[in-house]
């Protein structure tokens, strides 16, 4: 089956300012495809070319086999779009907006059923301006879907939403995918890409710097995990560095950080137990998409504001990275837990000094990072 979206060597400049240098990727039917990158990386320009809102300077784009510029009329019937900054008239009600947009399409969805599915049926008479940010976003998603599109492009879906609204929106997107809609998700939130996307294209400086599953991207950065603890009694480095699973050991005061492969935790705890050493405050850190992103794009720059981190990494957001999820089409992402381990990235430093909240798993009888049960 041909790809739903095919982008080849896209180049777009505004005067001397090159927004997109050379971007190529393809999106398969039914997947959630993430376009991830720092602000100004060229994400929005790329998807605007896909939507036919902008004309590329060079390169080729096919969406559902159509040329987004020359076959625009047909494309708009089959491609749903949620814009980063598209608003509605203040006094337009939810119901009016849905019925209005439904009238634009050949085979629209039932506006009332859609409102119901998106939890908007109680607000059909509410004017747009009176909706909360989360509700406006919901309506925006509903309008992107009201034409029964085969593909939906969602740009900065959860920007400005509080954590709960963000999580609700994520659930919603999974439901949309379950209906068979192919989704392109533009975002600069790591957690969002990590949770939702089957595959992610990381764009930086107008180029695709990586394209893979979120889990594979994370593993590419750092071969495995970092085990941190405070030993109850001193021990020699060689006790652990001799283990095949361990690649490095650093000390900071009386804290020890051991880096190693996916099996490092089991090996380290076993050895410590044999020598009667209690590992106090044991924590396990695993590389995640954010680490990959930072490594790939050369730093957080403007992409990660403190607010982003708070929004996506607090409270119940702390669960270990989901392995093969329950949804369809997600089984392909490799489980970050024990298993075949790729070689450590060349010359990557263990990110021991990064000042951020890290994922942690408390020592459990079995050192498997078990995902906590669904938190909602």
């Amino acid at each position: 089956m041909p790809a739903v979206i095919e982008v080849r060597h896209l180049h777009k400049a505004y005067g001397a300012d090159v927004a997109v240098d050379d971007v190529s990727f393809s999106v398969e039917r039914g997947e959630i495809f993430g376009v991830l990158g720092p602000n100004g990386a060229g994400k929005t320009t790329t998807v605007e070319c896909v939507e036919g809102l902008r004309t590329p300077d060079r390169g080729e784009i096919r969406v559902l086999g159509l040329d987004p510029r020359r076959e625009r009329a047909e494309l708009t019937q089959r491609l749903g779009v949620q814009l980063q900054d598209g608003r509605l008239p203040d006094r337009l009600t939810v119901g009016e907006a849905l019925r209005l947009y439904a009238s634009f399409y050949r085979r629209p969805a039932d506006p009332l059923a859609l409102a119901d599915a998106l939890g908007l049926s109680g607000e059909l008479r509410t004017p747009y301006a009176a909706l909360s940010g989360g509700r406006q976003q919901r309506l925006s998603i509903a309008l992107a879907l009201v034409g029964n599109p085969e593909v939906a492009v969602l740009d900065e879906l959860t920007t400005g939403l509080d954590p709960q609204a963000r999580r609700d929106t994520w659930d919603l997107i999974r439901q949309v995918q379950a209906r068979g809609v192919t989704i392109v998700l533009v975002t600069h939130f790591m957690a969002e890409a990590e949770r939702l996307c089957d595959r992610v294209a990381v764009i930086d400086g107008g180029r695709v710097v990586a394209l893979d599953t979120p889990a594979a991207l994370a593993e590419r950065v750092q071969g495995g995990q970092t085990v941190r603890f405070r030993p109850s009694v001193p021990f020699a480095d060689s006790l652990l560095t001799g283990l095949p699973e361990v690649t490095g050991l650093t000390r900071q005061g009386d804290a020890v950080a051991v880096t190693g492969t996916g099996d490092a935790l089991a090996a380290v705890t076993a050895v410590l137990a044999r020598h009667g050493i209690v590992a106090e405050r044991l924590r396990l850190e695993q590389a995640d998409l954010e680490d990959a992103f930072v490594a790939l794009t050369g730093g957080p720059r403007s992409a990660r504001t403190p607010d982003d981190d708070r929004g996506s990494r607090t409270g119940s957001d702390h669960e270990s990275r989901s392995g093969p999820g329950p949804g369809p089409g997600r089984g392909s992402s490799p489980d970050p837990g024990p298993g075949p381990v790729p070689p450590p990235g060349p010359g990557r430093e263990p990110q021991s000094d990064r000042d951020r909240v890290s994922r942690s798993v408390h020592p459990a009888p079995a050192p498997t990072p078990a995902p906590s049960p669904a938190s909602e």
Partner: protein, 254 residues
């Protein structure tokens, strides 16, 4: 989730868009107040001042001369004060940008606004003529077909200029400022402050070439029972075509 099943579509996109815009226009309240309420209020003020009913210019009571001018006022306020503000506001807020990603094209977006303006104008003009006739004894237009033709052409000409302002203005504030300025200049040449018949010859000539002046003159002629002078109708049609073409050429979604 049963929303994926095809849903029978009711009404065309243009019909739905026009009805929706009409509702928003009514909900906004300022639009109907200025386009329908204000001309009626002015008519009532003029009508209750005895001077306007007794004083005659060229054998016609002053009040009778003012009715066509108030009709021109309706068209002008819709075309210059309302239309550019709505479209420029939509562009600034991203409403047009959002519409652009749908199968609805610019022609239908503009047409819906035009239809709302025309419908409002029809209501306002009908109300003006009826109130003038019933409350103040101003005779209905003696050449109704000529009056209607002049009204439609004038509406198209002014709306085209309004659309052009909306399309050409860099942002909403500029559109409002240009629209308001045009409104007063146009209303002057339409004879709001001084009826055309009472103007000195040079001003009268300029008035007849200005869109709203031509409109007021054509309406006045038809009210008096004469077919409007073809030159005025051609002038109006010329404005309509030229500015409509310019507006479509300059139209920007964002």
């Amino acid at each position: 989730m049963s929303a994926t099943s095809a849903f029978p579509r009711r009404g065309s996109a243009l019909g739905r868009l026009t009805r929706t815009e009409l509702r928003l226009f009514v909900r906004e309240k300022a639009g109907p107040a200025f386009a329908i309420g204000l001309p009626l209020a002015l008519l009532t003020v003029f009508g209750t001042i005895p001077y306007y009913r007794r004083h005659e210019v060229g054998g016609t009571p002053l009040l009778d001369l003012y009715v066509p001018i108030l009709c021109a006022f309706v068209l002008a306020t819709l075309a210059f004060n309302w239309l550019p503000a709505v479209l420029a506001g939509y562009r600034e807020k991203g409403v047009l940008r959002r519409l652009r990603t749908t199968p609805v094209g610019p022609a239908r977006v503009l047409a819906a606004q035009l239809l709302v303006a025309l419908a409002t104008a029809a209501v306002a003009v009908t109300a003006l003529l009826l109130v003038a006739r019933l409350a103040f004894g101003v005779p209905l237009p003696r050449q109704p077909y000529g009056y209607a033709a002049a009204l439609v052409l004038a509406a198209l000409a002014l709306m085209a200029i309004g659309l052009f302002v909306a399309a050409a203005a860099p942002h909403g504030r500029a559109a409002n400022a240009v629209g308001a300025t045009l409104f007063y200049v146009m209303m002057f040449f339409a004879g709001l402050f001084l009826p055309i018949a009472a103007m000195p010859p040079l001003l009268r000539h300029i008035s007849r070439a200005a869109p709203l002046g031509a409109a007021a003159q054509a309406l006045t002629d038809a009210a008096g029972g004469r077919w409007p002078h073809p030159l005025q109708l051609i002038t109006l049609a010329g404005y309509a075509v030229a500015f409509c073409a310019g507006a479509i050429r300059l139209f920007r979604w964002e």
